[in-house]
């Protein structure tokens, strides 16, 4: 297998969201896609009781050289894939830098402090301006809404993966997506996931 080139080695991705959104599964799919390119993948994640309704992150390290720390050093993230808007800015505070790219799903998940009225959830316009200010490139996708049209909100995560492929920063492609997802799905479900992936690619290429 020929060696693929990475813009940085290790290339660091954080997939973030709220417990229950499907973060772990999304990181596994991206990891499996890249491991097919003969790259070294390390994924660090937290799950368990502490994540009930809490912020969750998966740290992906992609390297042609070796295995790296399952925790990305502060300020060293290259790409943030955020399944929830305010989680993107939380990640930027710890792991962002002026050159980071951000892909953000625009559907909020309200924290219980917001539900109870003790805290305010910002407007989407505010979140967009903050992320634009704190990143080199950013894309905002109404992935959950499009996924609801397809019949299942979880497909929003697949659109986000499609979008990550669409921005062209990494050797992610449709064939490796299909190969990775075929390990778990077949038939109609596979076709629906491929459709969601293509929609995700289109969402960033159309911008």
């Amino acid at each position: 297998m020929k060696n693929v080139s990475l813009p940085f080695d290790p290339y660091n991705i954080i997939i973030t969201g709220v417990g229950g959104q499907g973060n772990v599964m999304a990181s596994r799919v991206v990891g499996n896609m890249l491991s097919r390119k003969n790259l070294n993948i390390t994924i660090g994640e937290t799950f368990g009781a502490s994540q009930r309704g809490g912020s969750v992150m998966s740290h992906l390290r992609i390297s042609a050289e070796s295995c790296w720390s399952p925790q990305i050093p502060k300020g060293k993230c290259h790409l943030v894939i955020s399944l929830e808007p305010t989680e993107a800015i939380r990640v930027l505070m710890n792991y962002g830098n002026p050159n980071v790219k951000v892909l953000c799903n625009t559907r909020p998940v309200h924290a219980i402090g917001v539900i109870s009225g003790e805290q305010r959830y910002p407007s989407l316009e505010e979140v967009k301006s903050w992320i634009a200010e704190l990143s080199e490139d950013c894309w905002f996708l109404a992935a959950t809404e499009r996924a609801l049209e397809l019949g299942n909100p979880i497909l929003g995560n697949i659109m986000m993966i499609g979008a990550a492929a669409g921005i062209g920063a990494l050797p992610l492609d449709r064939d490796s997506f299909e190969a990775a997802i075929s390990e778990a799905l077949s038939g109609d479900k596979l076709a629906l996931n491929l459709k969601a992936y293509d929609l995700g690619v289109g969402m960033v290429k159309g911008i």
């Binding site: 596994r28 070294n40 390390t42 720390s69 305010t86 800015i89 309200h110």
Partner: protein, 644 residues
Amino acid sequence: MSIISLGREGERHLVMGNEAIARGALEAGVSVAAGYPGTPSSEIIETLAKVSTDQNLYVEWSVNEKVAMEVAAAASFAGLRSLCVMKQNGVNVGSDFLLHLALTGVRGGMVLVHCDDPGALSSANEGESRHFARMLELPLLEPGDFQEAKDMLKAAFELSEAIHNVVMVRSVTRLSHASGIVVFGELQPIEKKAFFKHSGFMLDPLEGPMASLPVPYRHEQQQKKLKQVTARFEESPFNFYNGPQAPELLLITSSACHLYSKEAIRLLGVGDRVGLLKLGTTWPLPPRLVEKYLGITDKILIVEEVIPFLEENVKILAAELASKIGPKAFFGKREGNIPTTNEMNPDLVAAAVSKILEVDYAAVPEAYAKRSQEVVVSGAPGRDMTFCAGCPHRASFWSIHNALKMDGREGFVCGDIGCYSLAVLPTGFSTLKTLHAMGSGVGLASGFGKLGQFGMNQPVLATVGDSTFFHAVLPALVNAIHHQSDITIVVLDNGGTAMTGFQPHPGLPVDAGGDEVPALDVAKICEAMGATVRISDPFDIGKTQQTIFELFEIKGLKVLVLKQMCALSPEKKAQKMFDVSVDKNICLGQSCGCNQLCTRIFKCPGLNWDKDNRVSRIDEVICVGCGVCTSICPSGAIQKKEVA
């Protein structure tokens, strides 16, 4: 079928640390595996259970960790290789047996994998299990990456059989619950025949009875084994050094801290000044190896998580070697360079190294750090932990909380370990007032319930999970009934060991491998013991509250079983019960006397406050359709419709 058994020699796969450990056990020819679920260890037994049929294994979720150790030891006594798996707390539970087992030794290789949780990411403590190795005088291995997580299992089984004693392998959350590329080794078919030889001479370790007597003799034999281990560890491939021949600073580390240290050296660009000694065999330490590397520098930084285990052990050797190697400057936890609580990360190592070497390091430009912090403060509301949407615990604690408030005697609930531990927080209406180990709520309640003679008249309750009931509640329950303690035990029966991923327990008709087994009935057990027992559905809030009141009036030990499946159970996920909606015309919003009861107090994540229309609404992505909120709304604005 799983890649863990299908993967062939030489193939590379992206697997979790726990899956790598399971594969290592398979490559070593394990026959029996037993454990109790606990994050971050659960996937090891789960992975082995999935392949138990095609690999001819016996795999069980034991009732608790002590029994798991006993089950694994029985296999070893009968000549098979056995694995025992648990989180850090489990070693405490099993340590009584383990202390005796360390004296009798084992026959077939027996490996104890214990997974610590520095930072308590999924625990109620960050207790260390490495110390058990020193206390029990058993060898300890710590994998430093994913490949080693697999390879060490094989080495551990070989070592165990060489010394005929248990070998401990300690993982941490950041390895067990992280994933990396692992190159698989060979799966060798081995012939398995179980037979327990017990007719030999009393002191014959291989054919005599397995008993720890006479203790001084057995103890001496055990310590001789540990000497052999030390000699083997001198040559172990799991200990290695990277760096210059005479570094200014030597880092000594193990486990996930190996990866953090490697990263920190790279971040600071000090690879020509700093050496890294990574140890995989951390008890007993190999003295000649340590001597060699202490000799190449005068400054040593020891990088590890939580308690200074490695640090103290290295310092003991350094003191013994002082006349040969001269004085050294040690940095680490005692010096204050490395924190003694919480988990480590690359930045904490970088901070320690940059301070010692006086190298400047800033992760991001100051202006960026400042601005991003401002944005988070103003724009990212914090996320408190909460029960999931549709969680039966929210409904159960709603009823318990309300019953206690209406009773008015400042009654309280003693809790223990499970998702329901969250009831110390507002998500459970801050109902739990004590939180300790598995089963401790019932033990404490048993004690509180006997304080009537000193004037205590507060109602005392304890909440326990269905898996916890079998794990550690039973002895406390026997105690409470026998001593006629006046308390109410609420069993939150959500149909599985939900917190750790829904593993089966003795109350269910299925075992780890999916085979049919007899289920033990919690209510019948309690009745047979003499308790007053009631059963209710926590989603029926009216009946549940009424039942709790009735139980307060009855003397002695009462048990209320609240039965409702976990919202994350496969059954519940497959089928939504109700479509729930808020009728905007009925919801009075802030004008209602309820003071926004549903979003302000009940606050299920499936409910939202619609700022624009000033009414409640349902978030259709998050709501799972349990319908409980319909019965708390005083004006009947929240409505449910059965899903066809």
